[in-house]
C-alpha cells in the first residue's frame, strides 16, 4: 500500500509538468478588430494583460485594451501614410540611452525586460512604435503640441504656492513647471489627435 502511495505522490507532479499528449491542440491567434484594414490580434491583448499582471481580465478591461490597440493602430496607419520610420542606428542609440539612464548592461536589460514579459525583440518593436508615434504626431499635428505661455506658468505656480506655501521661488521652479505643463498639454493634444483620426477611420470589431 505504502509503495503505491509513494508512486502516486511522485507521479502527480510529474504529470503536471509533462508535455501535453500528442495531438493536443492550442489556439494561437485570431483577429479581434481591424482599423482601416490593419489587423489587431488577440495575442496583443494577452500581452497587455501579461505585462500588467492581470490574470483574469474583466469585460471592461478587455474593451479598454482593444481600444488602446485601436488607437495604436491608427497611429501606425498615420505613420505609414506619412512615411515615418525608425532606422536601425536610431534604435541602437535609443537602446544605448535606455541602458545608460537605467545603469544596465545587456544582461541587466534582458532581466528587467523579462520581468515585464518582454524579449529584446518585442521590446525593440515597442520602442520603435513609441518613437514612430512621437514623430508622426509631430508631423501630423505640429501646431497642436503643447505651447506654454508665461501667464500659464505663473498661474500654475500660484496654484502650487497656495497649496504648499513652502515651495521655492517662481524663478527656481519655472523650468520644471514649464516641462510639466508642456507634457500635460502635449498629452491632451495627442489624445485629441487620436480621437480625430478615430472619427475618420473604419474600425471593425470581430463579432
Amino acid at each position: 500500500m505504502k509503495h503505491y502511495l509513494v508512486l502516486f505522490l511522485v507521479t502527480l507532479p510529474a504529470l503536471a509538468l509533462a508535455r501535453p499528449q500528442d495531438g493536443s491542440t492550442a489556439k494561437l491567434d485570431h483577429v479581434v478588430a481591424t482599423v482601416d484594414g490593419r489587423p489587431i490580434f488577440h495575442s496583443e491583448i494577452d500581452e497587455i494583460f501579461e505585462r500588467n499582471k492581470i490574470d483574469k481580465p474583466t469585460f471592461d478591461q478587455t474593451q479598454a485594451a482593444i481600444d488602446a490597440l485601436i488607437d495604436s493602430a491608427l497611429i501606425e496607419n498615420a505613420a505609414v501614410r506619412l512615411h515615418v520610420d525608425v532606422t536601425d542606428s536610431e534604435m541602437q542609440q535609443a537602446e544605448a540611452m535606455i541602458k545608460a539612464e537605467n545603469h544596465l548592461d545587456d544582461a541587466g536589460l534582458d532581466k528587467a525586460l523579462a520581468e515585464q514579459h518582454f524579449t529584446r525583440e518585442t521590446y525593440r518593436r515597442e520602442l520603435a512604435r513609441q518613437i514612430r508615434m512621437q514623430r508622426t504626431f509631430a508631423l501630423d499635428a505640429p501646431s497642436v503640441r503643447g505651447q506654454v505661455t508665461d501667464a500659464e506658468l505663473q498661474a500654475r505656480y500660484d496654484q502650487a504656492k497656495k497649496a504648499n506655501p513652502s515651495i521655492g521661488s517662481f524663478d527656481s521652479l519655472k523650468d520644471q513647471i514649464r516641462e510639466a505643463v508642456f507634457s500635460e498639454k502635449t498629452a491632451i493634444a495627442e489624445g485629441e489627435w487620436v480621437k480625430r483620426m478615430r472619427a475618420t477611420a473604419h474600425v471593425e470589431k470581430a463579432k
Binding site: 503505491y4 508535455r19 501535453p20 499528449q21 491542440t25 492550442a26 485570431h30 489587423p39 501646431s143 473604419h202
Partner: protein, 348 residues
Amino acid sequence: MKRLAFVLLLAACGGNGTTGDRPTLPPVTTPTGPAPEVPWNQLEGAVKTVTVKGDDATQTAAAKQMLAAEVGKPLDRARLRDELTQVLGIKGVGDVNASAVQLADGVELVVALVPARNLHALTAKEVGGQDIPLPGLLSTAVGLPLDPSLLAKVVAELRAEYLAKGYTDVQVAWKDTDVGTNQVDVSIEITPGKATTITTVEFKGNAHAKKADLIKAIAGTLVASSPWNSDLVDRASLLLSAYYYDHGFINVAVDPPKPSGGASPVTFAITEGDQFRVGKIDVKGVPDADAKKYLAMVTVKKGDVFSRKLMQDGIVKIQDAAKTQVEPVTKIDAKKKTIDVTLDLTKH
C-alpha cells in the same frame, strides 16, 4: 487526464487485485476521444510543419510560403502576427485563424484561411443627399472579394476632396451589410458638415510685429477668399512661431485658429512673451585658434537680438568646417533677458 488520474487512484488504493510485495503498475491505457485543448504556451518543441487550410490552392500556397520561416523555430506569437498580417494581405483572404498541434517531435502550426466576402453592390452618397460618382479606384471592385484596404484608400481620397473645399469636419465612412451567401453590400456615406472660407488673415497680440511682416512670414500658405485648409493653417502657425524665434521671442505661443463653418477671417492669437538678446557665445572642445575661427562663422554677436535661424546657420557652417556635430548648449537668464550659447564640439 481525468481518466489517467482515476487509474492511478485505483492503484494507490491497491485496487488492482494483486497481493504481492512488489507493486504492479496497472496496464497502460491510451486515452480515447478527442485530444485535449491546452494553453498555447504549454506546447513543447519547435515548429515541425506548417499546415495551411483553405479552399483556394493559390491562396494556401502563398500563405504557406509566407509562414515557411516558422519551421524550426519555437512558437512566438509576436513574430507570427507579422506573418499572419502578410497572409491577410493575400487577395481574397478575409480572415485567418492560427492554432497548433502537439506532435511527438515538435509542433504543427495550422493556419486556416477564411475567404473574404464578395462585393455585391457599392454605393456612395452624401447623407441626406444624392448619390455621388464612385472614384475610379472602385470601378471594377464589384464582384471581387471585399478589399478593406482599397476602401480605406477611397475613403481617404473622398475625404481629401471635401477637405480641399473647406469642409473641415467632413466624415466619410463605409458600412457593409451581408446579403446572401458570402456576399456583401457596401455603402460609403459622406457627412460633409459646413464649409469654411477664409475671407482675410488677421493677427491678435502682435505688439512687436507688423501685420505686413507676419503676412510675409506666412507667404505661400493662406490666401484670402480661399477654402480653409487645416494643413496650411498649421504650417502658417509654425512659420509665425519661427518668425518670432528669429526676433528674440523665444517663449512665443501661437494659438492656431479653428474653422468657423462659414466665410470668416482666420485670426492667429499670438502671445509674444519677452524679447531675448544674445549673451555670451563661446566654442568649446577645440583649440583656441579653431574656436576663434568657428566663432566668426556665427553672424549673431553678443547684444544682438537672438535669432534661431542665424544661430542655426552658424552651427551648420561650423559642422561643415569641423566635420563634426555641434551641440548648442543654452543658458537663459530670464531677468536680464539674455541667452548664453556654448557651441560644444567635444561630445562627437
